[in-house]
Symmetry: C2
Subunit: 225 residues, 2 copies
């Protein structure tokens, strides 16, 4: 009686490990949950975990990738449901925060790599480029649909800059210990407002020299960090 289940045994095992890991991470934090614990909870030997995940960090990465996939529809409807640039921006980031609310400890492990760019798990690394580009595409769309007029020279840099803003908001939210992450919530609100105001101002002739400098900074940062 071999099960006709389409999910292969391997897939099942890798999921068992991932789920065991996430549960332990949530319960006791990333550092306290050992690979031996994880494997044991999943009912396999330690080595099995490494057969499916290259490292402890890679488990977090797998979680993040799955989460990213699952969030796509919610992002789509959040953006569509929000009127105007500022609301769309806020809505997109809100989707992520809401999704991750039970897993802040897990995300913390990802984000502590900082902006290393060498570290495979860093949001800036080559390994996370695909997911990063996917996010940036959303911001491009928000800019288009948000109905904000923006100078030609600035436009190509904006999706990346908004992604950067998003990372900052998530970072702050992950570290925020205020009840219900209220502080991070307020920061998102204010941040979105400020970003929007800045974009509106960016068109004024007076701001041209400043804009040129800011654009050069963006190019500099994109260079490798």
């Amino acid at each position: 009686m071999t099960t006709p289940n389409p999910t292969s045994k391997a897939e099942e095992t890798s999921l068992k490990i991932l789920d065991a890991a996430l549960e332990l991470f949530r319960e006791q934090g990333f550092d306290s949950a050992t690979m031996r614990d994880i494997a044991s909870k999943a009912g396999v030997a330690t080595g099995a975990a490494y057969y499916y995940y290259a490292s402890k960090d890679a488990i977090v990465m797998a979680f993040y990738e799955r989460a990213w996939q699952e969030m796509q529809p919610a992002i789509e409807s959040a953006i569509a449901g929000a009127k105007g640039f500022e609301a769309k921006l806020r809505a997109m980031i809100r989707v992520k925060l809401d999704y991750f609310v039970a897993n802040r400890a897990v995300l913390r492990a990802l984000l502590r790599t900082g902006a290393d760019a060498q570290h495979p798990l860093s949001p800036f690394s080559a390994d996370t480029a695909a997911i990063r580009e996917g996010d940036i595409a959303w911001f491009r769309r928000i800019l288009e649909e948000g109905g904000i007029r923006v100078p030609r020279d600035l436009a190509p840099h904006l999706p990346g800059a908004l992604w950067f803003f998003q990372m900052g908001a998530i970072y702050f939210w992950v570290m925020d210990d205020s009840p219900n992450q209220a502080r991070a919530g307020r920061l998102l609100q204010l941040g979105a407002k400020i970003v929007t105001s800045l974009l509106r101002m960016a068109g004024l002739p007076l701001t041209r020299p400043m804009r040129k400098a800011v654009i050069e900074v963006m190019e500099l940062v994109r260079g490798d960090a």
Copy 2:
């Protein structure tokens, strides 16, 4: 013939360990240099290193504290020697970059803690509060002597904000792999210019709503991150 040297034996040993560690960090990076290597190079047993330094990270911290002390006079004269706010701001940060140029690998270990605030070595932690306050005092002085008029409500937040800018610049510099860290140098130049322009603009009546929002963000961030 006991040496009348005022440095006690303990102090000598702790220095031996610190120097051995720094040399190894520079040669092979923070991660590759093991505590056993360090102790061995210093001519002591592994445990001795832990008698003087609570952790491997703490060695880096000791280096940073010593460096900070040693830099104070250079900062003083750099600020005094530069005319105007923008130049002073740039000069102060330049002193640090120049001082750390041989030890970027060491600093990298410090900064990878990110903005954790729980982690003892983070620039945002309670353990580094003294050093942080010292830096902020410098920025307060730069603001006073730089001859920039700034709105009353914004003023108290500015030294902290400039410190934040400094940390960003150092962070980028540490991660920057461009030859001679040229990119980070350019970023510092542009960043200082942008900051200065923003401060000049901050007085304009038109920017009042934006300023209020920015101030609230600063208060939010200072809250715990």
